[in-house]
Structure formats: C-alpha cells, structure tokens
Symmetry: C2
Subunit: 215 residues, 2 copies
C-alpha cells in the first residue's frame, strides 16, 4: 500500500527532520530516565536542541511519546537479558543486574510503581521479558546461585530497589549503586546455599504486573 509514485523524495528540510527524530528519541530517553515520565515536554525539546513543536510533529501527544519510550525500555532490557545468557557469566542474574545499572539511561526503573495504562504491545513485550528472565533464573538455579523460590518478579523488584530516585548525577551514582548491588548479590548467594532464612514471600510476576498497570 505504498504510494506508487516515489513522491519526489526529500523536498523541504527532510534531512534535518530525520536528525531531529533521533535527537528527540534520545533526549526523551535521558530525560525520562532522570526525571520520570512527568518531565515536561519542553525539557525534552530543550535537551534535544529542538522546539516543542518538533516533538509534537513526530508524536501526536505526550502519551504517545511515553508509550514509545516504555516500549523502547522494555526492548532494551529484553535485549540485555538475552545477551547475558549468551555470555554465560558465572551468574546470569548478577550480570543482568549489573548491565542494567550500567546503562545509565533506562527509563524502565523510573516508571516503577506508577500505574500506567496497559496496551497489547506492552503486555506482549512484558511477556517476552518474563520469559527471558525466567531463562536466566533457571540457568542460575541449576548452578545453585539463587534461592529456590526466586522469581522474575524478584528481579524486577531488585531493579526498582537498586535505582532509587536519588537526585545524584547518574555518573556519580554508579559507584553507590554497584555497592548496593553487591550487597544484594552477596545476600542472594548466601540465601541460595541455605545459610540464611528469609522472611517474606516472593513477588510473583502477576503481582508485579498488577502493581504497575492501571485498571
């Protein structure tokens, strides 16, 4: 259903438009990661070096922009999970969490706890994420590296915990987050070998999804 006559491609300022396109996406990712999804559109435009109108020309509304970024964040983290399995590190969960923390600009964790509307494509991506995480957990469990009741929901909870909304420049914060992560991972190992009893039940995936979606 493409328009048949190549429509005299690239009249006007089409090249600049495509460049802005990328700039807006990257700016949105960074700004949302830092300030959460209620960062004003103008902040994104400013970061992208662009007028607000340019943001609206590509995405009809702020909701659409947020939706695009949510999807992007999910795809990113799914990608990380899959790469990690291939790398076969000592602990795949540990490597996954580390990688995620190192990627400074993921809006994924900052959205945690906000009830946002679910859509079919987000649901579908979340399911793929679940599958990827369960693969990691299975690999680690076979090696005795995580507690027997550890779930994909626990991994998401860990992400939420390890990325608090401290108003610290991400670069500076990395060291602090890594320290927390190491404490968490050390605890995981110790509980896996039965050296400590834990209070509280696992967070199931369904609960996690429920906590984070609207209706």
């Amino acid at each position: 259903m493409e328009s048949v006559s190549q429509p005299a491609a690239d009249r006007g300022r089409a090249k600049e438009a495509r460049a802005n396109d990328r700039a807006v996406l990257e700016a949105a990712r960074d700004v949302f990661a830092e300030q959460g999804f209620d960062a004003p559109t103008s902040a994104i435009a400013k970061r992208a070096g662009v007028g607000v109108a340019s943001v609206y020309r590509r995405y009809g509304s702020k909701d659409e922009l947020v939706h695009a970024l949510r999807l992007l964040a999910l795809e990113d983290v799914i990608r990380i999970a899959r790469e990690v399995v291939d790398e076969r590190p000592e602990s795949t969960v540990a490597r996954f969490l580390t990688r995620h923390l190192e990627e400074a600009a993921s809006p994924l964790a900052t959205t945690f706890g906000r009830r946002l509307p679910t859509t079919p494509d987000i649901d579908e991506a979340a399911d793929r994420l679940r599958g990827a995480l369960e693969t990691l957990i299975a690999v680690d469990r076979a090696r005795g590296l995580v507690p027997s009741d550890y779930t994909a929901g626990d991994v998401m909870m860990a992400i939420a915990h390890l990325r608090p909304h401290l108003a610290i420049a991400p670069a500076d914060a990395t060291g602090l987050h890594l320290r927390q992560l190491d404490l968490y991972l050390a605890g995981l190992r110790q509980i896996a070998v039965g050296a400590a009893v834990q209070r509280g039940a696992a967070l199931t995936w369904e609960e996690w999804v429920g906590f984070n979606s609207e209706p």
Copy 2:
C-alpha cells in the same frame, strides 16, 4: 515569660482545636509517607476529617507543615536507633532497619533524593541521627557483623533502597520489603566476613547530607 494572667483558658472551641491539632499531624505523617511531600494540603485535611483552613490555622504555610514533619521523622528514627542499642539484639543495624520498615508511616524515606532547604534545627537533628547510627555501627563492627568500611551514610542509603515508592498498600508491601531487607542483611554479613569483594565506595555522611539539601 508566660502570660501572667491565666487567660481565661479555653473560650470558644478550644478542645476541638487541640484534637484537630493531633489529627492534622497524624494525617500529615501518613499522607506524606504515602504520597511524598507534594501531596496536596487538601488530601491531608480530608484524611484528618478537617477543612483546609484548619491546617493553615496551625501552620502558617505548607512549608512550615513540611518542615515540622521532617523534624518529626528525624526524631522518630533517632528514637528507634537509641532504643535498638538498649535492646542489644544480635545485630543492631539489622534490628534498626527492620524496626524502621515496620513503622509504616515514616515520611523520612519518601523525602530521600529531594533537595529540600536545610535549617539549623534539621541540621542539628541530622547530626544526632548520625551519632546514633555510628553507635550502632560501632557495636556491630566490634562483633564482626558489618563490613569494616560501613558508614552511617550506607544505612541511610539502605533505607532509601528498601522503601521504594511502589504504589502498593503499605500493609501488603511489608512482606516484600522484609524479603528485600533479608537479602540486604545476608549480603552485609557475608561481606563482613570477607567472603565477597565489593565494588564501589561507601557513601559518606557528608555526601548524603549534600545529596539531600538544597543549596
């Protein structure tokens, strides 16, 4: 400097006023703990079963109310820290963190990461908190229960991490928080005995204060 003539105490509706006073304070504590300090004044009034004007009659402005609650939260947590030392539990830090998590309505952690103006009385309370925490840490370190470079800043960071702003009913969330806490504590123990190396440096108290105050 008290007014000399007992001023014909309690004309008008003074008793109701005192009752409201308490109600407002408690409502503010709960609402701020749940929604953070930008919860609207009307939410606090509603929770207290009172009109907005009654809130403004006791506190000149929302800033004053927030300030009062910040101070209250600090005093609360200082009190917990001191009680814990007297209880002489196996690990004072562990007991302190558990107690803090159990007190559902502390606005302390929800303010974390917001840069709020510092005032002399807040500074002074923060210093007392630092002292109390350092006592805990010293006790535990003597027993080999925490890593040798563990600091009061780390404890504050742990609080921030363990109380994410998940939009979960506090009652339901307790179990999830305890699970995370146990992972953290298990990690602390394991690192204390040198069983794991940790990346990242300690968060100093000065850094913590700096991250959380305005100018």
